[in-house]
């Protein structure tokens, strides 16, 4: 799994991919955290030193699964003041549940307003899941 951060005029985009939808969601979540914080925190550190949160998110198609999952992470940041760096997820249908591990970050360069549906298309080709999400900051 992996991600790439792309700048656009008023915000930033994260392209994520993975062999499963769990990996896709984790990649996008990680990319979102890195894009906001400007740094990368290891999943191990998050698991060892961070706080564990249970999440359960519902969607009605793959796009809403992605947006609702990322919106949940944004909400977690707003209310619990942590960014999530490690993911333990299970996707069923268009719902995802599991545990995530978050750590507070000193300096956040971009305040995430929302994960948007702009140009969002979750694709599954050649055994790989792929999506690019535009964030409003």
């Amino acid at each position: 799994m992996s991600y790439k951060i792309i700048g656009t005029t008023a915000d930033f985009k994260v392209k994520g991919w993975g062999s499963t939808r769990e990996e896709l969601l984790s990649s996008l979540g990680l990319g979102m955290a890195v894009g906001s914080c400007g740094i990368e925190v290891s999943p191990e550190k998050a698991r060892q030193e961070g706080r564990e949160f249970s999440i359960a998110v519902e969607g009605f198609d793959n796009e809403s699964l992605v947006v609702n999952f990322l919106s949940e992470l944004i909400y977690l940041y707003n209310v619990e003041k942590v960014f999530v760096w490690s993911f333990d997820l299970k996707v069923e249908g268009f719902n995802v549940a599991g545990k995530v591990y978050g750590l507070p970050v000193e300096q956040v360069s971009a305040e995430l307003k929302a994960a948007t549906y702009a140009n969002l298309k979750v694709e599954h080709k050649n055994g790989q899941w792929e999506a690019t999400v535009v964030f409003d900051i």
Partner: protein, 475 residues
Amino acid sequence: MIKLNKISDYIWEVPKSFRSDMLVPARILASEKLLEKIKEDLSIEQTINVATLPGIQKYSIAMPDIHEGYGFPIGGVAAFDQKEGIISPGGIGYDINCGVRLLKSTATLVEVRPRLPEIADELFENIPSGVGKGGKVRFSDAELDEIMIEGAEWMLEKGFAKPEDITHIEENGRLSMADPTKVSQRAKTRGRDQIGTLGSGNHFAEVQYVEKIFDKKAAEVFGLFEGQITIAIHCGSRGLGHQHATDYLNVMRLAMAKYKISVPDPELACTLFESPEGQDYFAGMAAAANFAFANRQYLTFLTRNIWEKFGFGELSLLYDIAHNIGKLEKHIIDGKEKNLVMHRKGATRSFGPARSEIPDDFKSVGQPVLLPGNMGIASYVMCGLDSSEEISFGSAAHGAGRVMSRAQAKRTWYGKTLKEELEAQGIYLRTSSWAGAAEEAPGAYKDIDEVAQVTEGVGLAKRVARLRPLAVVKG
């Protein structure tokens, strides 16, 4: 390849024949110079996409400071028939009622200049700004609901506003159709401790001075004079608005199949305005908008407290305008008055003297239109024109739109160097994020002078005063 037909010097049109799903033409209000930048992103494509939405009237319009957004462009105006047209959260924005207000002082540049670094420090220390920064006050659930119903009026009741402030806010700082029960608990939790906070990104509090007056009569009516100190506050509904928009984009996406609506981009998700979903979104949007009016009012209270310490006299409110909002307005189309659902995202209302909605003391010249520029260059106070009715449903630009991504701006400028360069020009920047400051570098924005000139040239609003920054506080 999109071919633009030149309608006049500053009006360009994509005819509806360009694409089979367009219901009306798309119009871009810009000079050739601004158009070069506009063509570099997807602004025009997005303006065309908006032209496909049910019930859209006359044209899908792009303001001179247009840039690419999510589904809808930023700097876009669209009017929909109230009975047959849609409402779309994306056409209003995630930051519901992001807007700006301008405070006027009786003090002058000469008096204030020696104290600027101190003033900048005081503002930075006492006005919460920055990512994740909570406010100094925390409101109960019941108070939050009251704030969402009463907006700026609530602040007046609690002693955080002067009576004369209220009539100098768009809609008197309170949209009457607000219903906080349509705002999710999640949104309320996000917003609860954010009243009295600026947020981050392009939000700011800025001390300025009036550098030049363009229109003596309007300046006199607005109470502006050369050398006068002014203070601008730019922010919105914070996490509460963002969450409400997020919530309803989902609701709308699910509902579209029911109403047999399909859209070119999922971010254009919408339902009929008169559908239950449309009504719920709108009532919640109004509640979030009232939250933002209350927020800017409370920030004014904090600013007045700080200003008082320096003994420079009182701060009075010129006007407070929204630039991400949905409004119910009557406009004349083909000689008939129609009830419309106005969507302005990154665009400001710009009513001239003929409109009854504007405050009594501005009726001789039109409402103030505030165009915040960027922190290094300038901002404008303009006044609305009656000619804007026909061209843009009484709308104007909202500032200098971006031309460069935040990532590129951070690669091009270094926040701390920017601070030094600004200070060399007598502008004091205080921020908690140097990366954030770099993202807001003047070069990342369109030319505000060009935007203001074109806004006037096309007949949307006319220039009254050019303001220059002196102290900028941003998150």
